[in-house]
Symmetry: C2
Subunit: 237 residues, 2 copies
């Protein structure tokens, strides 16, 4: 952080909005961890709390977008300053979607609490959730530190979560093949896993904004994807 | 369109970038239709064409985002003009994601062409794809015409696609219950259906930008969702 005595009006406004982004990041991270815990422990109260909490995340995103629009209108930033504002808008949008996935996970946790559990799967999902939350944290830290090397590293480690997803996908297939009564629960768990993988993609997208800030270019869409399950390969998206 | 003789520099730049958005919309719509047809007809050549075509869509999005950033830096628009630029950026991002879903559909169509078909399902998916493409077209038209009433109507009709998805979901469950050998194909078709439903959500998001332009506020997240399948309810996201 710069010396507050030499901050411009733009810098002051920007610091305020960046503080909101970090607060939003914290809320989203907690929502994801809570939702995964609600699933694992069949804790309906916690799941309801996550569902209800998404409104605050959405409101914070709206506020950040308005603040950014106001910054653009009032300060008319150019070059690097403009890129910072645009990147904040994109990061807030990515966090909002990650928050939606947490809410969706909580909703499915409620549905699944009335179904027979599929052994081992919710623990795997909790591990996956912890991994993407860590990536989200790292991406936001890299953003604040404007650390391109860390951002590149986060981008390169996109595969980790994909591989966890693939391994869970195989577990779910086995449960479904073994007993058709598992199909409904497995479909929900599959969506949860896919959505957590998508949160990982949003963490990568945030890391890419760090690269955008440094270079003015967003890196291309083609990251290496781990497609490990033959015939039922996962295919991102 | 206004009389070109009285256009400001901002208006001229904006018209150019809006023309790119419409071209992008056209490419995305065609990609979705082609991908669904490739699935229905097991046409591997067409599926490969859609996969290859996504690069052009991504490049066009990058170009639109750069043009918008340039517009913000050079023209420093405020109030309504600023909102137009921000909405163009969001619409381009929504179209880019819709294009990704078309590419993903094409990839899964290639995988599915080597599996036993599940009767009726790919025709249902083609109907779903046609419906969302129509909604996408309508949303872009509403945007160009800045027609808030049409945009509200598109938002209200979000349920149609959800209901098509729910009905297909039930078909897929039946196929899986009947024969576990159908599970892999059904999982792919399920993802395709969910992704098409998401394209519908992006069409709604574009319609919401029309409302944002008129009011300065993006309508809230809570649209009514059709949750028709008891116990295996679909849950957006």
């Amino acid at each position: 952080m710069k010396d507050p005595h030499i901050l411009s009006a733009f810098d002051r406004d920007l610091e305020a909005v960046q503080a909101h982004v970090l607060r939003m990041g914290g809320l989203v991270e907690q929502a994801l961890l809570d939702a995964a815990e609600a699933l694992e422990k069949r804790d309906e109260g916690l799941a309801q709390k996550v569902r209800a909490g998404d409104e605050a995340i959405d409101a914070l995103e709206q506020q950040i977008q308005s603040e950014c629009a106001r910054l653009l209108a009032l300060r008319a930033p150019t070059a690097g300053d403009l890129r910072v504002v645009l990147s904040v808008m994109r990061i807030a949008a990515a966090l909002e979607r990650a928050g939606d996935y947490a809410k969706n996970l909580a909703k499915r946790a409620l549905v699944l609490s009335n179904m027979a559990p599929l052994e081992g799967t919710s623990a795997s999902i909790q591990r996956m959730a912890r991994t993407v939350v860590l990536r989200l944290k790292e991406a936001l830290d890299a953003y604040i530190a404007q650390d391109v090397a860390v951002a590149q590293d986060i981008r390169a480690r996109d595969r980790e979560v994909d591989q966890m997803y693939n391994s869970l996908f195989r577990e779910l297939l086995t449960h479904m093949m073994e007993d058709p009564r598992n199909i409904s629960a497995a479909m929900h768990l599959h969506f949860i896993a896919k959505n957590i993988e998508r949160v990982g993609d949003h963490a990568t997208a945030i890391a890419e904004q760090v690269i955008y800030l440094a270079t003015g270019e967003v890196p291309g869409d083609e990251r290496p994807k781990a497609d490990l399950v033959p015939g039922v390969s996962t295919l991102e998206g």
